[in-house]
Symmetry: D2
């Protein structure tokens, strides 16, 4: 039986997440890009704004966004605009019957938490209630049934996947706050020109930003069912892509004994999470350009701390790749469809 | 009718060209990797040496090379060893009936020219005579019929594709020597550890090497039918991948008038060569990870010089990608099979 | 006898050339920074805008520029603003009796040439006539006597120093156009945020820009006394600092015979130009952070072309370093004063 | 009164720490480099091995090391060889009356601890007892009186300076283990060619190494008087220079209240430690090429954790710069002599 084709739209195709969606969807066996729209700053062939995409034929031109036009031409839409704009567009599309995936932070948190951490007004509570948090490794069934998905944040994805296996095991035991020392490549900050992201500024440097105030903090705690209080430190790497999380959890030695086997078992049926053999560590380059997440665990007996490392591509599993994984589930496709590339390594 | 499957081997899978071949062939719809072998330094699962490939299942373990074993298990083999070792192995495999593609410089030049530029003894002349130079944009038919292919050099590919359209047009007119100012990423120098290629040495630097003596010089002149004498300057870029060629040709203004149209027409049926619209220039990032070659031409009226720019991925169209393009032709497949990826851009 | 101290001002201290001037002048034994002023966008302590300078004590705060204030507090001023703004400020300061060095392109070219290449109105001809082109290796005496100096362009400095020794020797012989294939780090494009200069865009890339139209073209021809017609190609390197020039000159073999000795002799008394021994090539890293220019020559007998390579730091000998060298001469100091740092290499 | 000049030798001048020592000492007002010696692999002018140093005149040629020759020509020697070789040479020189500074790990730890973490035999206990640990911010007086100094490790320096102010304050209170998440540029791993440090491997990547087993762990605990048990995680940054430490300490809220003022006060008289104002964070680029250490503290009230960030140049305050600071003290010079450079920033 032939797979039914799905017409998809991308709102915000010239940002980093958007262009990655175009790249992925242009190769998808069952999806057709039928709509590309942005703020109106770039209109016309996408290859004019993004030279690496100019040879993708049969793409619609980029137009200024219109909910009507989008609803008419798409079965499913990805909305990859800045937080504050993106969520309400996704909601509107969902209300018109288009399955919608919002890549911003707008639909991920309860309204009051959003207000505190984003310092902006949230969308209405009843609308938020419809949005499913799209981390398939935690809630594959919910995503499959969803018509409106809040795609997780990049740091949140890497951190939740690193720590989620622990949730059930430590639930009954008191553990102190978990330190999450996270590092991200420059594309995590978006594509708009900013002085501190110029190559002349960022090359050869490394430093933390939004210390103690990064908005993915409550998203991670929520993704861990509130079992852990976390301290998220976000730092800028002088590279284009990739997130690396080093997490530190004080753990009961008894639990630590078979921790690798527990992790491996937890992710056994997760095609994108690769629990590395003991002695191996994640590499950003191993996951760049893919939807994979590498995870490793190391028990430090001296200090009683479990080190958990995870690496993802912030534009892959941290944004566009995960959005496509969610879309695959929402459409009834195998979740790996169109997402099986191997990284280039070098 | 179903495509007949081809069993392929890779000799030298842990070098840069070799690992790129593994990556590409693992996704090929009609080819199966049935043999992986090297010098014996690494044996066992390829994922042990190359962590980004560890999730590719169904790959044979890496063994120490044996011509017998290779001939038994493969219909076609890629030999990606250093020059001086690679060619004779490819020849031996061809003699045993395995279609062979040699990625080294051993089979590209007449013996005396090879001796001069490589300062090493060539393989026998009758053997060299059997090897077809594998640049499909010039000699697709010969490649399709070949059983032994000499895969072109990375600089040579970028330079020949940049200049080849001019060959017929200038043939009857005297032009001075052509300056080819070429730049390459670090992987062009191979994967063996060398002090000058350490990140601590090469990062933030740029410099020429083998000035006036690069062995791709005669290969380029040969690929241009001896019409141009060239001066090739090779320079090291502090990035992993990519070759950029800036070529300068004194040209008759009459010929220059419609030079863009001539280039576009010349490459009309070459699926991997993208002649950019006037005003656009190639970017290394547009071709990284692909088998594409971007070309642009700009006529400088003040000086009467045509500037031709080209960009390829030295591991793609400059090595593994082109080798697969050749293999596709040798097997009767469409030449783009398994080679349609878009670059990541960032 | 004690050296008389000079009070200096920097107009534009938060741009790349300006901040390099602050760094150099803060260590100068006979100069005191007494005035820092910009457009008014940043005012207050310079360490607020430039954290690496925060420990330099005794610097005046940055104020909004006022010609009066500058004239009162300075004997000499560096004006490092964008072309179009910078030159007329330098002229005004000179008219008020402040020795002025303009780091922009405004005062380097005859008015009509400036109009053509900068597409902007030049300052008045009589004013231009007062400005001395500040390339001490060519006209040390003129600079020493000057009160208004046009500091050369970065590409122009690297190219003129590479080719100037040839001027007298080839004067009587016809040579074809000279190809100058030039590459620059990202700081050459200034510090204002631009999308194409973001690390996420430029890292791992390389490409030409302003093909056939770079405004340093006439400056180079002028600096070579019109003996050579040149084709300048400017290309962007994914590194912060440095310019590398590869120049190609068809040369009479007789002249080529002793070309290295001729170059070495030409620059014998130029403390910042290092003519490398035969077989050596310039490295951008060898000159980064310094006022040095490395030059090497290689005669390619096959093609009759002389290859000349040169490397400078675009912010050193290509901007701030050279400006200080000029200032030293204007003040009667040894030209190397405060400019003897060795590069970091790594 | 004129300063008495000191004759200094560098053993291992072609490694990264050694070349940095040459750069610094060549500019020192009271020290003269009178001896350069290595393993014998490179002999002759240092500019042959290190092109950026070729213009430093009056340097002695590099010879094969001889304790006799060194003792005859030097008052003070820096020994910058690999651990296992370096310490015993420094000891021998000290026994011959040459003040010696060992940059390796050989003389920093008690013999039994060294044996465990370096998996190598230590030098004799009585000899170790003579070596003073050279972190002047902790023990300036001891260093000033020393004739044999163990120069601290790079990670250890950054970590100890980050945490040392806490030692007295928390001494009486139980605190849990301190997490030290540390990142280093590639030169920290030395200059010998290794495949994983090639630019083609390390560029665009990030990953931990020696997880739970880095030999600077006990050195840090010792430098903190055993008050803290630490978990040190070392990770590789794809840049040449710099160390960044993010340290996490559970702290009593009362102590946290005035933590910034306490830090500022603690380092008031330390010329190289810059405690940044609240809201600022260290940047690797701010300290690259200098002997500075930037430190910032941030109290995270939600979790009760103090975040301490510090940045140094691993070749500056982490190796050669600190060695010179120690040498200055040993010779009775101001500790900042020859160490007042500002970073280049870009």
């Amino acid at each position: 039986m032939e797979q039914q084709r799905v017409r998809v739209g991308i709102v915000g195709p010239t940002g980093y997440a958007g262009m990655e969606l175009v790249r992925l969807l242009a190769q998808h066996p069952y999806m057709d890009i039928t709509y590309l729209a942005g703020s109106g700053a770039h209109t016309g062939p996408i290859g004019d704004a993004l030279p690496h995409l100019r040879r993708l034929s049969k793409l619609p031109p980029v137009s200024a966004f219109s909910a009507n036009a989008c609803a008419e031409s798409c079965d499913l839409a990805f909305v990859a605009l800045p937080s504050g704009e993106s969520g309400s567009i996704a909601v509107e599309l969902a209300q018109r019957g288009v399955r919608a995936i919002d890549l911003s932070g707008d639909l991920r948190l309860p309204g009051d938490v959003y207000r505190t951490w984003y310092q902006r007004e949230p969308v209405a509570d009843d609308v938020l209630a419809r949005a499913v948090y799209g981390l398939p490794e935690l809630n594959r069934a919910d995503v499959s049934a969803a018509s409106l998905v809040a795609n997780p944040g990049c740091y949140a994805t890497a951190a939740i996947l690193a720590l989620r296996p622990l949730v059930d095991w430590v639930k009954s035991k008191r553990v102190g706050p978990v330190v999450i020392d996270a590092k991200s490549g420059a594309t995590g900050a978006g594509r708009a020109a900013k002085q501190n992201l110029q190559l002349g500024e960022l090359a050869n440097d490394f430093y933390p930003y939004r210390v103690g105030a990064h908005q993915h903090t409550p998203e991670i705690e929520q993704g861990l069912d509130g079992v852990f209080q976390i301290l998220l430190t976000t730092q800028l790497l002088p590279i284009p892509r990739g997130i690396f999380v080093s997490a530190y959890v004080s753990l009961d030695p008894d639990l630590a004994a078979d921790i690798h086997a527990r992790y491996a078992s937890f992710y056994e049926s997760a095609p994108f999470v690769d629990v590395l053999p003991p002695g191996h560590v994640p590499h950003i380059k191993s996951v760049a350009g893919t939807n994979d997440c590498q995870v490793s665990v190391a028990w430090n007996e001296r200090t009683g701390i479990l080190q958990v490392f995870s690496a993802i591509d912030n534009l892959g599993k941290g944004a566009a790749g995960q959005a496509l994984q969610n879309a695959n589930l929402m459409c009834g496709f195998d979740e790996t469809t169109g997402l099986t590339e191997t990284s280039l390594w070098t």
